[in-house]
Amino acid sequence: MTKRRSKSLFVLFSIILVILLIASFVNFTYPFAINGNFYSYSNFVVNLRLGEDIGSSLRIVYRVDLPDGVSDTNIDDLKNVTMSGLKSIVQGEGYKDVTIAKMADDKIVLQVGNILSRTDESNITYLVGDPESISFYTSSSKSEENLVATSQDVASVEVLEGYDGSNNVFVVEVKFKDAEKIRKATSSASSIYIFFGDELFTTSGMSLGDGGIQNGTIDIQSSAFVDKATATSYANKIRTGMLPLNLTAIESGMITPSYGNAAYVWVAVVMALFVLAGFVYLIVRFRQLGWLASFNLLFFITISLFLLQSIPVVHINFSGIIAMAVCFVVAISTLVTIFERAKIYYNQDTKLYVAMRASQNESAMKIFIYNLLLMVVGFACLFMPSMPIQSMGWVFLVMPIVNLFTSLALMRLFIAMYMPLNNLDGKKCNFHKGGKNA
């Protein structure tokens, strides 16, 4: 590579890096208006979905009561069913970091992490903020003679997907425990009206599907079901009406991280210092190659942050942060592995560029194995229901892939760019110490 080409490539990659760094760490308002509105940009770090341990979460405290007419003495079992039902409903909406616990004798407390915006907060509050018992009527006015079924009659609620020749069609199917009873109750009905408590839930544009209310099931279609997510939300809302205990929200709101009010600030500060220490180590040990490695690691960090905030299911708990630190250490180790081997070759009277190229080629397998181990752990952790383990799993899956790209592909390019500028001098990389070239 010529010096001129090398310099222009360095300038190009520096500009890309600056853009990535701004996108990763800087919030700003766009200097121009779109349709009269000024929009603001949130950086990659802000967009990371943080778990409830290091990020703010939504907390709802419910008072628990037995429904009218139910005199089950084993309320603890019903509590457990209610808690697991509530948890799966919220997780079904895509909010995976959910913890739920019993509080005193008559309360349960739900906490949902990964809250990025007010929209997330209002989505969850709408869904489970004040669950009411569901009931089905053949008329829009609630009366005993129009009653078809209550929540206790419902067996399951599923979302079915079909194709009408031009579009995907989504149907929410409600199945009942006693199909015959429902068939009789709906024999002369053309519509079904769903109530949550005393409030009519059936909205306009909603109709019964082809199957209608036949065979003891109710198929609900709506123009509002534009995709699977909206149909699933609707199904989840119905599921909240099927919980076996009455829940009354007595407290609801955002709560600061459970690891302390400013946990995320401390996490950010400590990680920044840690990264800085890594750069200093590389620069002191390998001088110019250390600067080049730091340049490479900045790409590693920003691309990783971009991917972690882009994948919707990724959430970062404290264990995810520790996993990030481990991945960063492994990223440094991979670069050190390349440099150390190049140093050995250089001290065996090999030209620096030959030593670097041979080292990169021969270290590739090693680097792949180290990162493969991380990815295997990451893959295994994704199947674990524990949120901190899953958080760690995503980090171990995403960051090693980025590391493979940056350490094997980008670093190769950077070294090729660096060689013409350095005049092939190993002394500037501390390669001369302790070798034949000393």
Binding site: R59, E251, T256, N261, W266, S319, I369, L373, V377, A380
Partner: protein
């Protein structure tokens, strides 16, 4: 130093490192006794605990933060294993949620309430009843953590057997078991708090123990095959350089933990202490356990690498 002159070198190695190995054995025995008698010390994520809320009738965020600090000082003074304070809600509905690691006695609850009422401006505050909150952790968390570790170790040992030799595979299995038990023992003996992130740290510990050994095996492979060193020299050189590498990795994790312990809020300090001791266990495993296990099992393993070396020479 290890040597392929098996029995003699193993004895030498044991004599040199016997203090470390005896300490390891003692920690494991004491740890198992402590954990089986007293269990682990849980936090609000893993065990039942007491919490109460203090409603603050003001919208001024600075006043809320000041009350938070004052209440933290009072609950710390009163003792009872305070964990953390979180700010819940906003505006005039703001509450401080005060969590403990354990369940408080009713006397202690009364003392804390009285202290808050007498020390602070009560017209702005409303202290709720103290509630016991059960653990949010399920049995699945324990099972799946174990499963993740088993999957990792199984994959790594099979891979190591295929790429290196049987001793490598056995070394991975045994050192992982010892590291896991060692970390759990240290946690039990020092009464470190076990939260949800502790399970993740167990997985990370095993990952690093495996990774450290893979680095060592690759080093041996290189030294023996590429640099044409004798097998025993290759092993000794790799053990030495691996100790230095793993020291740097462990040291960097200890530094992270230390920074959290010094600067971060109370709850984060507890989990960071775990991180520091995890790094110490990692270092100990790589420095003392892995060479010992190697010295035992390498004697029964054919030097497959030697074959590779010969092949390589022929190719050349």
């Amino acid at each position: 130093m290890l040597n392929r002159n098996f029995t003699k070198s193993n004895k030498e190695y044991f004599n040199k490192n016997k203090i470390a190995l005896i300490v390891l054995l003692a920690v494991l025995v004491v740890g198992i006794i402590v954990v089986s008698c007293f269990g682990f010390k849980t936090n609000f994520e893993t065990g039942s605990h007491t919490e109460f809320t203090v409603a603050i009738h003001t919208e001024d965020s600075k006043t809320i933060r000041n009350y938070s600090k004052d209440i933290e000082a009072i609950v710390k003074k009163q003792g009872g294993e305070f964990d953390t304070i979180s700010i819940f809600g906003e505006g005039d509905n703001t509450k401080l949620v005060v969590r403990y690691l354990n369940i408080l006695s009713s006397d202690k609850q009364t003392a804390i309430r009285d202290e808050i009422v007498s020390e602070l401006k009560i017209e702005l505050l409303d202290v709720s009843d103290f509630s016991v909150v059960s653990s949010a952790i399920s049995a699945n968390d324990y099972i799946y953590t174990a499963l993740a570790i088993i999957l990792l170790v199984a994959f790594a040992s099979i891979f190591a057997y295929a790429r290196y030799n049987g001793a490598s595979a056995i070394s991975i299995i045994i050192s992982s078991i010892i590291a896991t038990l060692g970390f759990m023992s240290v946690t039990g003996i020092l009464r470190l708090t076990v939260g949800l992130s502790y399970f993740a740290m167990l997985v990370i510990l095993n990952l690093l123990v495996v990774l450290g050994q893979f680095m060592m095996f690759e080093n041996i492979r290189d030294s023996n095959w590429l640099a044409n060193k004798e097998y025993s020299n290759a092993i000794n050189g790799a053990l030495k350089s691996n100790r230095a590498k793993m020291f740097l990795i462990s040291f960097s994790l200890i530094v992270i933990g230390l920074m959290f312990v010094i600067f971060a809020p109370a709850a984060l300090k507890y989990v960071s202490l775990n991180l520091m001791f995890m790094a110490v266990v990692l270092l100990f495993t790589i420095w003392y356990v892995v060479p010992f296990v190697w010295s035992v099992f390498i004697t029964h393993t054919k030097p497959r690498l030697k074959k590779n070396k010969e092949n390589k020479v022929k190719e050349k």
